[in-house]
Amino acid sequence: MRTIGLKEIEDIALGASLLGAGGGGDPYIGKLMAMSAIKEYGPVSLISVDEIPDDELIVPMAMMGAPTVLAEKAANGREAKALYDLVSKYFGKKVYAFMPMEAGGFNSMFPIVCAATLGLPLVDVDGMGRAFPELQMVTFSIGGVSATPMALTDEKGNAVIFETISNKWTEELARAVTMSCGGSVAVALYPMNGKTVKKYGVRDIVTRSEQLGKAIRTVKKSTDKSPEETFLSFTGGYRLFKGKISDVVRETRGAFNFGTVLLDGIADCKGKEAKVEFQNENLSAIVDGEYVATVPDLICLVDTETFLPVTTDALKYGKRVLVVGLPCFPLWRCAEGLELVGPRYFGCDTDYIPLEERFEEVK
């Protein structure tokens, strides 16, 4: 066990936006909420997966809805308590600890807010090890865990608990209620016991976010290596491409932002072209017509000077980026995992080949 205070939050937010792999959006509002909660209630205890008893109730916490609404209404601060009460009452058992669902953007911060407010521990684990666009895209789905019973509350104090027949229904019903509540709500979903979390969860993800954030923040301080080498060795990343954005094609379908970003090579990649396709998060990277990486591995674009992650909503002509691949959580590479989040699910016409193998081939 260790504690998370104000300083750690900055690094966690920064690292999580790298792990967002282009998605997750701007963590700014989430960071402010976490800062307020820690200033008011004190630091949060972060516990490792091994510290939770097998039969205790662990609940992932998240917010759902439109980012623009969230940027206006933020939240009340009592949502965590409302969800805690609702879930504890439903199971007839107190919630033992909270955890994040995903790394990236606002939802990497909200569980910290919840843990601080209620004085509960935060488990160093999540269900993605990155960000993904859909509700069922969590490692717990591989283990047959259902998103429901899912508790939902708004800032006004309205609260609902859903029991649904499929994750598709959960998504549909939750979306309808979210709109009625004014466009942004807090949810507790995929409630699990400690044993399931241990079996399927992506371990040490909060710590990894923090380390990545710190690495980005201090990348220029290394004296024996170039900032780029330092960045790659710290993150364990594969350097896929370096280029200038020459075009961004976007399309909004349903609740998702689809698109393609085209890159002209610079430095040692001069003369080459690359293409990164995205659906909220980056899905595939193609260099000179050849796939070099696909989901579920992480494809991250970072600024060539600052090494700050560039999210898909901030892609812009002329920006110079380094395209970096990070291997995904190994469980995603099993057949059930690839069915949920493999390249074919997202419409990419290729089988999944792990990043490390593709990289060796290209070399």
């Binding site: 700014y28 509002i29 960071k31 402010l32 909420m33 800062m35 307020s36 909660a37 200033k39 439109a66 623009t68 609404v69 940027a71 206006e72 209404k73 933020a74 939240a75 009340n76 601060g77 009592r78 807010v113 800032e155 006004k156 104090g157 004014g182 466009g183 200038k244 020459s246 075009d247 812009k316 002509y317 002329g318 920006k319």
Partner: protein, 517 residues
């Protein structure tokens, strides 16, 4: 003949220009900005009147662009004590106002309160405005603050609660209290909009000082017939009274004035303007005669805000940038600069520091000072330095464009002689006459605007008719502020539908701008 006077107070130089009725430049001067800005304005005024020898009583308009507000925030000086009211509970309580501000800047707030009220995204009330709580808060502030900042959840959709709270505030605290409301200042995003509103309220004392100072200096120099205006950052003017109410809108008027001035001097519809000063270069884009607006949050003195700002990239490159040979053989230019001391420190002026200007003279790009004093510079060193400058400018030219299509480039500012005349990504590169005082010219030729904002039901009148009527109102307001009716054009239309508000209602905001009469 009547004249307009334009003054721009920058970090390094204070520029002044006189422009006649036909908008021709009659005189221009440039001098170092003084520590005390009031003295700087007075000196610039005396100097230009001396150079031009015009009859002072014929100056009918005087415009000032100033960085005073930015300086006040960055240096945390002269900020007023204020109270902060946020309307929106039970929403938004999780983030108190100013949570991520530097402590020294947080001290502007004497007290803050979050009270019931606010709106959903569609204009529906989250809760009714808690009038009693508002009254109690204002009573507690009475006698302790000079200004109040009021913000409200989704005020950019509907601002009734903000207006009602402002009425209560005036009733409780008297008519003299300065009130800033967020719907008049920022856009979507509560925290950023509230931040901008707080800064605006805290700046009201600074605004009073510089508007009074400007008026006094003109009076003292006998420019008794001049109407006074302040430049704001969208390229239009504010009256003295408006400047006192919305001082934050003067922030970044410098780059805006340069862009507007460049547009006037070259009249190219869409172009990139590169304004090179002594220490920094600002790169922006002209769109339909106005600077392109920034779409992202802008940080001022460490505070994240979202009020409209020109989309400008600033880089540490200027005429006074220091040139250095690095250990690996490469040559770097800037960001350190000799700044306003260039006339003493640069080689061509007899100094001992190699500056970007010296490279330009050594290569024959410019003819300035004593070229013999740079003759000894190694040709390879000069070439590498100029290439570094070219690369910096080309990279950022590329970054400000929205596609790879080449664009026309206009160079302005005293340091622009260091920029090569061919640039990758540029269709043409031109340096117009009077380019050195483009910012003061931009200030002098600014337009005046009027903004009309109202909730309109499209049930009673068709959308087209209603928008047309609203546009007429905006034009009338611009004319009332002093615009020539036949020159007024609509420059911005916002139409936000309020889904749950009765009667198919939209919040319509229209801005019109025209030439000063």
């Amino acid at each position: 003949m009547q004249y307009r006077l334009g003054i721009d107070v920058g970090g390094t130089n204070t520029d002044a220009v006189l422009i006649d009725e036909n908008l021709n430049v009659v005189a221009e001067i440039k001098q170092p900005t003084s520590e005390d800005v009031y003295t700087g304005i007075l000196c610039a005024l005396r100097s230009i009147l001396q150079v031009s020898k015009i009859d002072r009583s014929l100056v009918t308009k005087a415009m000032l662009g100033t960085t005073q507000c930015t300086n006040a925030i960055v240096e945390r000086k002269h900020l007023a004590k204020i109270g902060i009211l946020r309307i929106g509970a039970p929403a938004a309580e999780a983030i108190p106002p100013m949570i991520d501000w530097a402590e020294a800047l947080q001290t502007v707030a004497v007290d803050t309160a979050i009270i019931g009220g606010g709106y959903e995204y569609d204009g529906k009330e989250i809760a009714p405005l808690d009038q009693e709580a508002a009254k109690a808060f204002f009573l507690s502030l009475k006698g302790r603050v000079q200004a109040v900042a009021i913000s409200c959840v989704f005020a950019s959709v509907r601002n009734d609660h903000e207006l009602e709270a402002a009425r209560i505030c005036r009733k409780v605290m008297g008519e003299d209290i300065h009130i800033s409301i967020s719907s008049e200042i920022g856009s979507m995003g509560l925290v950023e909009r509230e931040n901008a509103t707080i800064l605006n309220a805290a700046l009201h004392q600074v605004a009073k000082t510089f508007t009074d100072g400007f008026a006094e200096s003109l009076q003292q120099e006998g420019l008794v017939n001049a109407e006074l205006y302040l430049s704001q950052n969208d390229g239009t003017l504010m009256t003295m009274e408006q400047a006192r109410r919305y001082p934050i809108l003067t922030i970044a008027c410098g780059p805006t004035n340069s862009i507007r001035g460049a547009d006037y001097l070259c009249s190219i519809q869409e172009s990139v303007v590169i304004d090179v000063g002594g220490t920094t270069t600002d790169i922006g884009v002209i769109q339909n005669g106005f600077p392109r607006e920034s779409g992202v949050a802008v940080t001022i003195g460490g505070v994240r805000t979202n009020f409209r700002m020109p989309d400008v990239i600033s880089i540490g490159l200027g005429g006074g940038s220091i040139v250095q040979k690095q250990s690996d053989g490469s040559v770097t230019v800037g960001p350190e600069s000799v700044g306003y001391q260039i006339t003493q420190k640069a080689l061509v002026f007899g100094g001992d520091t190699i500056t970007a200007t010296d490279l330009a003279v050594a290569s024959g790009l410019a003819n300035l000072g004593d070229p013999a004093k740079v003759a000894h510079l190694d040709a390879d060193f000069v070439q590498k330095g100029l290439e570094a400058i070219k690369m910096m400018v080309e990279d950022n030219l590329d970054a400000i464009k929205i596609s790879s299509d080449p664009m026309d480039v206009v160079l302005v500012g005293g340091g622009s002689l260091i920029i090569p005349k061919t640039l990758l990504g540029a269709k043409s590169v031109q340096t117009p006459p009077h380019h050195g005082t483009a910012n003061a010219i931009g200030s002098a030729i600014s337009k005046v605007s009027g903004t009309y904002e109202k909730l309109i039901s499209f049930d009673k009148t068709s959308r087209e008719e209603a928008l047309q009527a609203a546009k007429q109102e905006a034009i009338a307001l611009a004319v009332k502020s002093g615009a020539l009716e036949e020159t007024v054009q609509i420059i911005d239309v916002e139409d936000v539908p309020l889904a749950y508000y009765p009667g198919n209602t939209s919040r319509v905001k229209i801005k019109a701008a025209g030439e000063l009469a």
